[in-house]
Symmetry: C2
Subunit: 356 residues, 2 copies
């Protein structure tokens, strides 16, 4: 059997990103060298890391709708790789919103720009400077994402079909982010809000729409697209539930984030909402009380015990299983190619069983 994911796909995505970023930076360098150095922060951010989840799902969508053995054309790789630039904008702006100092074990873009200000001993507020430049760098990523997607070289027909989920996805992820920020501020304790954030900020953006985009690029029919989207919503939701678990129980050595980071950041996850519903009042109050504070090891330990003892952890794990089963069932159809299905199974496992 042929390998379900070509080992060089990741390399091809990176090459496409490098090519586009280098081309754009030539334009910027023609404007001003100092601006090009700032644009370099975006290049470094995009090319230095990340799991490339969205391009992988987009390529999987293409593969699932394409006869076995067909090589992915360069222009499709380029269009799928453009998703990483949307993700760059999302992360750079999210890190400002969350006031995060590190990302992937390095200083965040706004902190790096802030450090450049300090090192240059410039006038004014270094922190404000870092945030200002990072807002603009994120905007540049969003602009270059659209340019990369639209000028990828895919056929006009494929492009106009794929632009429908492309634009829908962007509205969905931003709506999900806005709701997330609002939920954190308003202290929402219901399950509807985190489930909705999960649905749009994560599931639509990370899995459903990338698969949909890839399938439209391949000229897939409505049955294939429906199957892929159903798979995508379920896997995407399971992916976020796994993220919620890792955000409290993850190993800092593996996740690259401090232990119990979600509690410290005050994230209103479904895991948390369920635990507050299931546990006794004093335990629920304790959980809500530590949220968004500099939680120490003892209190983190108690919070974790409440999450487990309330049954919330078991309930979320069961939900991950149910969603994964539903996802695999959705693609168990003749509308999905055999090697496409194998590929989707691997990705579902990677998204829901990961440690980081």
């Amino acid at each position: 059997m042929a390998p379900t994911t070509r080992p060089d796909d990741g390399e091809r995505v990176l090459t496409a990103l490098r090519r586009h970023l280098d081309g754009r930076r030539e334009v910027v360098a023609g404007i001003d060298d100092r601006v090009d150095r700032l644009a370099g922060l975006l290049s470094d951010f995009v090319t230095d890391g990340g799991k490339r989840m969205r391009p992988r799902f987009a390529l999987a969508g293409w593969t699932a709708a394409t006869p076995d053995g067909a090589a992915v054309p360069d222009e499709v790789v380029t269009a799928c790789a453009a998703l990483e630039l949307i993700q760059a904008c999302a992360l750079v702006h999210d890190d400002i919103v969350d006031a995060s100092d590190t990302r992937r074990g390095r200083p965040t873009v706004h902190r790096t720009a802030e450090a450049l200000h300090r090192d240059s001993r410039w006038d004014g507020d270094a922190e404000r400077y870092g945030i200002s430049q990072a807002i603009l760098i994120g905007d540049l990523a969003l602009t270059w994402a659209d340019e990369m997607f639209v000028t990828s070289g895919v056929s006009p027909g494929a492009l106009s079909r794929a632009l429908v989920p492309w634009y829908a996805m962007k509205t969905e992820v931003l709506s999900g982010q806005m709701l997330d920020v609002l939920a954190e501020a308003s202290g929402a304790t219901d399950e509807v809000t985190p489930a909705r954030v999960n649905r749009f900020k994560t599931a639509a953006y990370t899995v459903e729409r990338p698969l949909h985009i890839g399938a439209e690029l391949a000229g897939a029919g409505p049955e294939t697209i429906a199957a892929l989207r159903e798979f995508g919503v379920a896997v995407g939701q399971a992916f976020q539930l796994r993220d919620d678990m890792l955000g409290v129980f993850g190993d800092p050595e593996v996740t690259g984030k401090p232990s119990g980071d979600d509690l410290r950041e005050g994230k209103r996850t479904l895991l948390l909402a369920r635990a507050t519903t299931l546990s006794a009042k004093d335990d629920a109050d304790f959980l809500l009380g530590v949220l968004g504070t500099e939680i120490d090891a003892t209190r983190l330990d108690r919070a974790r015990r409440i999450l487990v003892d309330s049954g919330a952890v078991a309930s979320i794990e069961a939900e991950i299983d149910t969603l994964t089963t539903r996802a695999l069932h959705a693609v168990d159809t003749a509308a999905i190619t055999d090697h496409g299905r194998e590929n989707l199974r691997d990705l579902a496992a990677a998204a829901t069983r990961r440690q980081a």
Copy 2:
């Protein structure tokens, strides 16, 4: 003679914006009502005001390349109107960068979101909340701008030609903004930096590229486009120089901004750079000293006198005249239609002789 600017163009631009925003908000409302209320801040911002400079120049570009008497098709109005959504992103994000409290006589978007947080008596830092939502609202504007432009309904050929200046413009304006933020922080006193900010943040973005986009939508030939771009660069630069003058000498009643606002905000304008070059050392030091401070009436008065007595004001006024003459000369060619040229003359006058 037919009227050079149809009186209903502004109304048509507004109608196109309303239609697109209403359509997008239906999608958002389907996600969450609370997010739709935040998206409403963007709608209000876009539909409640602004000079619509960029759509006007884009429509002028279309007119200059189209035989006399042709009505502008709806899809061209829609594509040109999309420029207002880029401008919405630019202003919403700029107001965060500049920490501005008001825009067009109303609270800025980040301040409005901040007030909603306070009024709801939510947890956490209201100011941070306002900035976070305004970053995302600006991103939404940028996303919807691209969607509106690409789905405007113009022919695929016209669209693919017009997307070249569309994307170039976005990279240029962001580069200009980044350089502007950098120049302010680094305290650049040279003339090259503000001239470059002017060239890309204003001239390319406000005049040259909108004209270019309109001309490409009309299927203009290379001579027409070259003439329009030369006109656009000159008028755009003159527009910014007029802005620099109004930023120090403008009547707050007319501009809607506090008196001497550019000095208070620490803007590194060409007017300022020229005055520091032309004036004696103690005057130059005084100017640089008041920059970015809460300047009082006496000190503002002295700063204004230095700008006049140094000859900087006269020199900038002469430059505005030279640029305007050059602009009008550039379109004095058979490659521009007669009514298109009249239209451009009116717009050049409006951009360079305005009081606000």
